[in-house]
């Protein structure tokens, strides 16, 4: 019996034990998806695309806070980041971007998507439009940082011949890369949905917004590049001829107007009872926000959350033992105009005496609502809790003021000749050199999430990072119109943006100057990643950050001038007065101060206009030319 069993099983093994040669060792992988499987399913293609969206490149962004503190807008209130205000020169490799890995992935996606006949025509068109949008966005980012780069629009393959020279491509002209971005948007806008409710995926709206921004950048480089003749290369890899400026500005205005006249987007106006709150909410309110065109979205409990609120929450109401890092500078705060459209420093002194304010916030009254919407000021509230920002107590001592302060948040001390056991410094600082305290006297408010739990490491925040919004499109239109000698049109768009901020006295066409355009972008778009690139395209960066130290008198002069030197960060510190018997007892005075950590004056060299290409890349591709002045 056992013998038969053995024979039968041996026979079975012979019959079924072997596979065809073609099937031998052919097993579908169980841990990755194959191309074939992906390009049949819309939801799988979408997840590939999600990864590409996730790799979108930003310079300043809410998930990388120290980048905000490299220039003049904010001080880094964290001990390990003080070097940013102690470094004179910007290294030439800063802002370098040479991501051909990502460009290849995008090109592969476009190639495969074009061939994916299993997808519905409608879905395929949209996916293709989105991938081409992302590729153009990456080239736009490349050209902003590096100048002209090789324009590769097909995935390249190495043939293992031992000679890779056919893969080496020379740099395109700077203008050619901008032309590519602009031309792509003309095609892409017809492939994408025209839906203002879609804000985290590409739409016709963002295609137009990006086209306007790119054309405006190219136009201003052409126009203002004339002032820096050494920032050019012979082959046009860096620098755009001046005669192209008008064409680019015309294109920028046309694209912006197409979006504006489309009427699908509008400024955020849901909380008009308090214009400061309204401006702040334009960034954190994600429900039916008509202003946001394109954003990087986050979602609670999904793993994709951001910690901007943890990073910057005021110590007095912090939900963790940290916060207060990005401290907006006085240099920025004083740029916000008074309601009569004039510039003025904050009034700290009357003659030789201080000006005494009843409430810490009074000094900021009567200004552009974007001041309080962008910056948490002394005397304002966050999450319903009043901030506690004051640097110490000034007490009257033998005919002069002496100061008593503390070394830690809300320290308790004694006033000599006065009460003992009183708080001598605010819970939020400012304390010079104390990290997480408001060392400039200010904290950032833009993108801060007022939801409870947003300051906890375990919860974090789902406020989105706004990359394109309607107000910027209006300002782009205004700038392009101004450069095309249509100041009345420019004034119209500027006034729309300004009216939302409570500046109801309209600017006349004659008021629109280059200084006005620069200033409006500075106050409207602070902390939105425009600072470096705006100063670069206007060729202002080497004048604004010229390496010369800045005195307290200089910092409060020339407000509203485009080329105002801003090499060092200053703060504005409130002090409480203790002088019983005087009418000024309990009032507040203000001092303009520079943190002891601000030791260097920033210098933006001509070689910083376009970041250096790494020696490795140059060595691998002899066709590349270096960027100038490095």
């Amino acid at each position: 019996m056992r013998k038969y069993l053995l024979i039968i099983s041996a026979a079975l093994v012979f019959v079924f034990g072997c596979k065809k040669d073609a099937d031998f060792l052919q097993t579908d992988p169980s841990n990755i998806l194959t191309d074939e499987a992906v390009w049949k399913s819309e939801s799988l293609v979408l997840s590939v695309l999600a990864d590409l969206y996730n790799r979108y490149v930003d310079q300043q962004t809410i998930t990388n806070w120290p980048e905000y503190t490299n220039f003049d807008e904010a001080f880094p209130s964290q001990a390990s980041e003080y070097w940013r205000v102690q470094q004179i020169d910007y290294p030439y490799d800063w802002w370098r971007l040479w991501d051909y890995g990502q460009i290849r992935d995008l090109n592969l996606f476009i190639q495969k998507c074009s061939a994916a006949t299993a997808l519905s025509e409608e879905a395929r068109t949209r996916f293709l439009g989105e991938a081409r949008f992302l590729r153009a966005a990456l080239y736009f980012e490349e050209v902003k940082r590096m100048g002209g780069v090789p324009l590769i629009t097909e995935p390249m393959t190495y043939n293992f011949s031992g000679d890779p020279t056919y893969l080496q491509h020379a740099r395109a002209k700077e203008s050619e890369v901008y032309d590519f971005v602009i031309a792509e948007m003309d095609t892409i806008k017809t492939m994408l949905p025209d839906d203002p409710a879609t804000q985290s995926r590409a739409t016709k709206g963002v295609a137009l917004a990006m086209q306007a921004r790119a054309a405006l950048y190219a136009g201003s480089i052409a126009k203002y590049g004339v002032s820096t003749p050494s920032v050019f290369t012979a082959g046009g890899e860096v620098g755009i001829p001046a005669d192209k400026a008008e064409g680019y500005y015309t294109k920028a205005l046309a694209a912006a107007q197409e979006l504006i006249n489309g009427g699908k987007y509008s400024l955020y106006q849901k909380k008009t009872e308090d214009l400061q709150d309204n401006f702040a909410a334009a960034f954190y309110d994600k429900a039916n926000n008509p202003e946001v065109i394109f954003a990087q979205d986050f979602k609670l409990k999904s793993g994709k959350v951001q910690g901007w609120t943890i990073t910057n929450q005021p110590w007095s109401s912090a939900e963790e033992q940290q916060g207060g890092r990005v401290n907006p500078s006085l240099n920025l705060a004083e740029q916000f105009e008074k309601l009569d459209n004039t510039y003025a420093p904050f009034a700290t002194n009357a003659g030789s005496d201080y000006i005494y304010y009843d409430n810490p916030g009074d000094i900021f009254a009567g200004r552009d609502a974007r001041l309080g919407g962008t910056i948490m000021l002394p005397g304002s509230k966050f999450k319903g809790k009043a901030l506690d920002i004051w640097a110490g107590i000034m007490y009257w001592n033998n005919g002069a003021y002496s100061i008593i302060s503390g070394d830690t948040y809300g320290e308790i001390g004694n006033i000599p000749g006065g009460p003992t056991g009183v708080q001598v410094v605010g819970m939020d600082g400012p304390i010079d050199g104390k990290e997480y305290s408001a060392q400039t006297g200010f904290l950032v408010r833009k993108f801060m999430d007022p939801t409870v739990g947003s300051g906890q490491l375990g919860t974090q925040s789902e406020v989105w990072w706004v990359r394109y919004r309607y107000a910027e499109v209006l300002l782009n239109a205004a700038e392009a119109a101004f450069e095309l000698n249509q100041p009345a049109v420019a004034a119209g768009y500027m006034n729309t943006v300004r009216a939302r901020a409570g500046l109801t006295i309209p600017l006349a066409a004659t008021d629109i100057t280059f200084d006005r355009i620069v200033h409006e972008r500075k106050v409207e778009l602070a902390f939105e990643g425009h600072e470096l690139f705006d100063n670069k395209r206007w060729r202002l960066a080497h004048k604004v950050w010229n390496g010369e130290s800045l005195s307290a008198a200089e910092v409060i002069s020339n407000i509203g001038k485009a080329d105002k030197v801003n090499t060092q960060i200053y703060g504005l510190w409130p002090y409480k007065i203790y002088n019983p018997g005087s009418a000024n007892n309990g009032k507040y005075v203000y001092k303009v101060v520079k943190s002891a950590n601000v030791t260097a004056a920033h210098r933006f060299n001509l070689g910083n206009y376009y970041s250096s290409i790494s020696a490795d890349i140059l060595s691998n591709n002899p066709k590349l030319v270096k960027n100038p002045n490095q």
């Binding site: 004179i88 003749p229 050494s230 390496g547 070689g607 020696a615 140059l618 060595s619 002045n629």
Partner: protein, 238 residues
Amino acid sequence: MFRRKYITGLLIAMTAFACKKDNYDEPKTTFQGSITYQGEAINVASLAVNFELWEPGWGKSGAIAVQVKEDGSFSSLLFNGNYKLIIPAGQGPFRSIINNATNSDTIPLKISGSTTMNIEVMPYYMIRNQQISKSGTTAVATFKLEQIITDANARSIENVYLYLNQTSIVDQSNYKVRTAVTGSSITDLNNVSMSVDIPSSMSSVGTTGDQNYAFARIGVKIAGVEDLLYSTVVKIDL
């Protein structure tokens, strides 16, 4: 007990003999000199000017950057070999001179043993006959600005600065006080005079000063040239 001694001894022996010396020697050859015009060093700002040394023949090409010091001197430790020296365009308040051997601004350089070599360049201007001294509570400087490049590449003077600092590093990023005159307001380049008030915080006779000397320097900003031209640093007793 006995075993522990063995292990300790073994460990010591391993520490002493396990490693070999590095198989490469560090670079030992010094290459030094100054950036000069007719043998006279050209003074620049600290960390503002550098030039590049290229050594061809290796797999990957990359430059060795050599920093020029404030007084125009430089020094670099190198391996022996053949180098090419380039001053990148836009570096320094000067222009490169065409080299006869290469017929370009590239200077061929053969390093075998320590070398001292001055690099001749064409500055836009030179500061001559400078005298800086204290007069009361001001520092007074007199000097002559000689225009060297007068052909089509000539540049005008944008500003002239007189700087004071408490350390011997004095330039446009490192100073306590400075005065400026615009180039257009200078009537006679052969006879320029400037003064700067010595602040009481720097002076030994002041209320807070505790250092009885200061350093002064003249800086010249040439239109369209990023790096400033400087005079030598002068120590002034207060």
